[in-house]
Amino acid sequence: MSLGTSSAPVASLPRRDRSGAPDPSRRRQAIGRAVRSRLSPWLFLTPALAFFAVFKFWPVIWGVYLSFFHVRPYLGNEFLGFDNFTRAFQDTDLRAAVWHTVLDAAVSVAGSMLVGFALALLLESPARHVRILRTAVFLPAVTAMVAIAELWGALLFPGRYGAVNSLLGTVGLGPEPFLASPDSALWSVMLVQIWKTAPYDMVIFIAGLVGIDRQLYESASIDGAGAWQRLRHVTLPSLRPITTIVLTLGVIRGLRVFTEINVLTGGGPGGATETIVTTTYKAATVSNDAGYASAVSTLLLIATILLTSLTLWWRNRQEAK
């Protein structure tokens, strides 16, 4: 340790230093080492931080800035003050989009959790055939949303001969218009979302189920608890922390919904499935109003940050209890 051999490999100095006068050079060396060890973590962090800075923080700051302008390519931006925001709050189309987004997030998150939990109860077993089944059931979760939206777009064909409708027909139901009607389009999108997300929730719930102490079940049985009571008093309370996580992830995912909507309905029919992100997308591309799109994005970002911080804070408080 006394020699300069423990320096970072980038430096070429140590070799020369070693032959120098003992006292000052060793001090210089020590300072060099201290500087290097101070600097080293930052050198390792710089690439990641640079990417975050350019592709996350800069857009966020730029988006907030543009929110105050009427963005006009070639003509120069015109300062509007809070006009974009006041417009956002008065925009009835946006209000409808917010409502669709919130409804969609709530229903699809709750739906996937329920279905995922049921799947977890059914498919939690170390047996080989169940494991294979679990792997198969998980396939929708790894498949790209675009592929799934295309598939369901075909299956939910509104005519009597559509795949799902002909299935419904055999039990005397339908035909349903699904994505083609403003009344059912959003609900059809939710079904597709639940279909894709439930298997994902299943895996997380299974991890929670595996972690439950089996003795709790046994002692509950000895105390005369039936299956329902064991579920109610042992399983559900033990899963509470994991449920919070699934919920948090789900709500964040819900607020940013875009892909499935754009592929399945494009926001239609008649704006019935327009969400916040499809609204900003159209404002920026179709109506070429980047300032307004930025203002709406900024508001959505604030909502996401508030919601996430709130759940994180809530979870920490629960854990502290």
Partner: protein
């Protein structure tokens, strides 16, 4: 074995109607298969069929095995899209893993002033989902000439909090003694990173690779904004641009969707263990 499902089922010796329960279970399994697997299966069957079913219909079983749907999709740019997606994946994933591993090393193995600030910054990026900042990001990409090129398709995907978290958590558990031994032998930070820490972190790197692969492969909104000329279209854009038609039915677009699905499924099946571990560690730590 008491480790059957959940303990919801009573211990075996108490059940007198076991075969009835098994029958119920098998029926439930079939229902689950019908709901979650049969749709995907029918997509593949339809894609590889020769004849096309009517609009909105799919084949549950292939009708005359044929590559016709795939070759038609190929004529409409699927080859180009596939190539572009692969290039974006290569650039994006390589950089994402490299950059994340470097950052994780500093966060896991070094004590320095400002570490908590860095962690806070990374946490903050988790609250800026891609879709939500997409429009401002698009405007920024326009300023730095990253529209309509591979840079714009791949670089915004490099900085991602998840692999940094997964790798930091993993690297923290590597014993300090290994690092100190190398340091006594005269190794610097870089050499320790490459010779000691990285080789030991291979499982976590694999997990990150699986997640990174899927995250980049599934991109839709970013290419939608960035790819402005047809030659930059990625596979997801090609899939959505194909329309069902009276003559070809659903076959062609489902064939393209199958091409989009297969790599993800292969990665998942091949690296399932790594995948599930990541899913849990990633979600449990938030």
């Amino acid at each position: 074995m008491s480790s059957t499902a959940l303990g919801l089922r009573a211990p075996r010796r108490l059940t007198s109607r076991r075969s009835g329960r098994i029958a119920v279970r098998v029926v439930l399994y079939l229902v689950v298969l019908g709901i979650f697997v049969v749709p995907l299966w029918s997509m593949v069957s339809t894609a590889v069929s020769g004849g096309a079913p009517q609009l909105g219909q799919v084949f549950l079983w292939p009708h005359g095995l044929s590559g016709f749907n795939f070759s038609t999709a190929w004529r409409f740019g699927m080859g180009r899209g596939l190539l572009n997606s692969v290039v974006v994946e290569l650039i994006g994933l390589t950089l994402q893993i490299t950059v994340s591993a470097f950052a994780a090393y500093a966060l896991a193995r070094k004590r320095f002033r400002g570490a908590s600030l860095v962690l806070l910054a990374i946490l903050a990026t988790m609250m800026m989902p891609e879709e939500i900042i997409a429009i401002p990001l698009y405007l920024v990409l326009g300023k730095i000439s990253l529209l309509d090129n591979f840079g714009g398709l791949a670089l915004p995907l490099v900085g991602w909090a998840l692999p940094i978290y997964v790798l930091t958590g993993f690297m923290k558990r590597i014993p300090v003694e290994l690092e100190e031994a190398a340091r006594v032998d005269g190794a610097g930070d870089l050499r320790i990173f490459f010779r000691v820490i990285l080789p030991l972190s291979l499982p976590a790197l694999g997990t990150c690779a699986v997640f990174g692969f899927l995250m980049i492969w599934d991109q839709y909104l970013l290419p939608l904004l960035v790819a402005q000329s047809p030659k930059m279209n990625t596979l997801t854009l090609i899939v959505t641009s194909l329309q069902a038609s009276q003559e070809q039915g659903e076959g062609v677009r489902l064939a393209a969707a199958v091409v989009l699905m297969v790599p993800s499924v292969l990665v998942y099946l091949g690296l399932q263990r790594l995948f599930e571990r990541g899913l849990l560690s990633g979600s449990l730590k938030g």
